[in-house]
């Protein structure tokens, strides 16, 4: 019996079209647009100005607080301007635009491909280096990693869980990374274990990636304390709280963080970035992005420099199919439609999804038929129909009492609703309003 989380969950069609496509390095673009707010928390502060020449890996924006992250240039060239550009959020945000000239890397970065296993750093040094390298959670939430690694006083981490679930349909970036950079990920895991001072780590992988599971099973013998946990295929298995429940059978209390049950979760992509930052001195300026869709001629996984426009990726994958209706940044369940193809790839972009016109059309929302499906699939045990109702009637206090803030925005309720009600849209609105109310109360 494979492990999984207990409450709810759905089974969307996997559609992993690019699972057997090796990671390709995307050719350098002519310009890159690097947003200075690619993470949760305070935006970074720009350090460069128009006309400055930068190298690959040079810090161009400095973290704007504890919960924030450094931003590094992904290319070498000249800063052409600092302007407001629409990013994946749908709004104009300040971005540094760099014209690419050659490919000159910062001299501290080790460009060699050899695996470097040994490291000799204390926990503080590791966290400092991860913070300097601007590493954020690469699963999509982009929470600064050094914050997650700095355990608050009085708490103790017991176990590190590595998230190799990739439960979103279509996406294969983590899958490919696990197949091609497994050793690096394991060294990265070791580094993270040292930083957290834990001796146990689990790598959770969904059972629809048997090649990755086998590959890791062979390799972990050489790494003490790391274990692979195959998991049942169920969405949202990759949710932090769901993964903790599945792997170590502990439930994160409502409103609490994983550390409350002694767990810390990191994505496999983050572990790889940590490896590169510590062993190769390489800050986070590129990531693996899946470009896929049913009409895409060449679905692929690309290693992309941060700031490359979405259009470059689509062209490399065989061009924009004529019947494209929506371009989604991220996975089909939690991703967000983008407004144009100039939107840059950021640290949090795991995929570019081209939906066909037919697939992307939303059905008209009908009345709730009280079937209760949304309640039965909610992995957090919430009542989505009720929450939506409360938002419609602006009953914010009731919403808070009904734990709207526990919603992880996985979209299972909307996926399963036979009346096509926009449940998650409303719940998200409720969440942000309740958050605002709570913040104003504290003042």
């Amino acid at each position: 019996m494979l492990k999984t989380f207990s409450k709810g969950g759905v089974h969307p069609a996997a559609n992993k079209l690019s699972a057997d496509k090796a990671i390709e390095i995307l050719p350098l673009p002519k310009t890159v647009t690097i947003p200075i707010s690619q993470h949760i928390g305070a935006p970074a502060k720009v350090l460069v100005k128009k006309g400055d020449s930068v190298k690959v890996g040079q810090k161009i924006a400095e973290s704007g607080g504890f919960v924030s992250a450094n931003i590094h240039s992904s290319v070498s060239g000249t800063v052409s301007k600092i302007d407001n550009i629409v990013d994946a959020s749908g709004y104009k945000k300040p971005c540094v635009i760099i014209n690419v000239e050659g490919d000159e890397w910062d001299e501290n970065i080790d460009k060699s491909k050899e695996l470097k296993k040994d490291f000799d750093l204390s926990a503080e040094e590791i966290i400092k280096k991860i913070s300097d390298a601007g590493i954020v959670g690469l699963g999509g939430a982009t929470f600064p990693s050094h914050v997650k690694l700095s355990i608050p006083k009085g708490k103790k981490a017991e176990v590190l869980i590595l998230n190799g679930v990739e439960c979103e349909p279509y996406l294969t970036a983590d899958h490919r990374l696990m197949l091609e950079k497994a050793e690096e990920i394991l060294v990265g895991t070791k580094i993270l274990m040292k930083a957290l001072n834990v001796d146990k780590a689990f790598i959770g992988i969904e059972n629809n990636k048997p090649d990755a599971i086998n590959h890791f099973n062979k390799l972990v013998e050489n790494y003490e304390g790391i274990k692979v946990v195959p998991l049942k295929v169920k969405y949202p298995q990759g949710g932090e709280k769901q993964l903790i429940k599945a792997v170590i059978n502990r439930e994160v209390p409502s409103g609490g963080l994983p550390i409350a049950v002694g767990a810390v979760v990191h994505n496999v992509g983050t572990a790889f970035a940590v490896y590169e930052a510590i062993q190769k001195n390489k800050p986070l300026f590129e990531r693996v992005v899946t470009v896929t869709g049913k009409s895409v001629t060449k679905p692929a996984n690309f290693l992309v420099r941060i700031g490359t426009s979405t259009a470059e990726l689509i062209n490399a994958a065989g061009g924009l199919p004529e019947d494209t209706g929506k371009i989604v940044s991220g996975g089909p369940m939690m991703g967000k439609a983008i407004v144009n193809t100039d939107v840059p790839i950021t640290k949090g972009s795991s995929g570019v999804l081209l939906f066909k016109d037919k697939e992307s059309k939303r059905q008209e929302s009908q009345n709730c038929i009280r079937c209760g499906k949304c309640v039965s699939v909610c992995p957090m045990g919430l009542e989505p129909y009720l929450l939506m109702n409360l938002v419609e009637n602006k009953m914010w206090d009731e919403l808070e009492k009904n734990h709207v803030l526990d919603c992880i925005e996985c979209g299972s309720c909307m996926f399963t609703c036979p009346s096509q009600r926009p449940l998650l849209d409303y719940i998200r609105l409720g969440k942000s309003t309740v958050n605002k109310i709570i913040r104003s109360r504290k003042k």
Partner: protein, 298 residues
Amino acid sequence: MTILVTIITLVTIGVIAAVILYLVAQKFKVYENPKIDEVEEALPGANCGGCGFPGCRGMAEALVKAEDLSTLFCPVGGNETMAEVAKILGKEIAAKEPMVAVVRCNGNFEKRKRTNQYDGAATCVMAASLYGGDTACEYGCLGLGDCVEACNFDAIYMDLTTGLPVVNQDNCTACGACVEACPRDIIELRKKGPKNRRIFVSCVNEDKGAVAMKACKVACIGCGKCEKVCAFGAITIENNLAYIDFEKCKLCRKCVAVCPTGAIHEINFPVKKAVAKPEEKQQIEKNKEEINKNSENK
């Protein structure tokens, strides 16, 4: 005999109950100023919340309690109602100028090209939480009608040919419900003005001129011409956007004539005699047509 016993028993019980009820009523009596009822009667009873209190009863209580009435105002009833209330309470109150809601966006389908389509939940606040809107202007009207939904007085409606809301100035009570509902802060309460004449900048775009112009042909580009021409210092430019202070504006209409994009609107003015140069005049005519098309007097 039995019937007599029954009657006496019942009467006795009744009297005792009445005494108990009377005593309890005396003991737990809640004193309420009878004036509250009177004042509530005088208020319009729309329960719109425009005064900032939960309904007319709340307002009545506040009015009775208040020492100074000048901070309280019923936008629906206006000066007449307030005068009546003041009379009931035996206090003085100064008349306030009537206000009206204005829509500060003129980016209709023609002027503001649509760059993408939205098919999510059809409310403005939802769309605003997801992205910058279906045009390149991320300040302008989203056109999904949250303001119409919020209005209790049938004073605002969606013009389907322009995709913009239109205020019916006769119905508008300036309660501010639409101002609150708009996630883009496009709607503003302004002085109704003498003979209902008023001038305002019909744009809230804070982008730089070129960007704003590219997104919308009637955007305020923050050029500052109006600021210079204004003799009363009523116009200020902040974040590439002009704003006309309605307290200072003397309705001379010089700013309307110089605005290169026609972002400044004049409402309810008679057609002005030619004072501007021919090319400027043309622009004014154009603007006027535009305004007539979208004016709030539909």
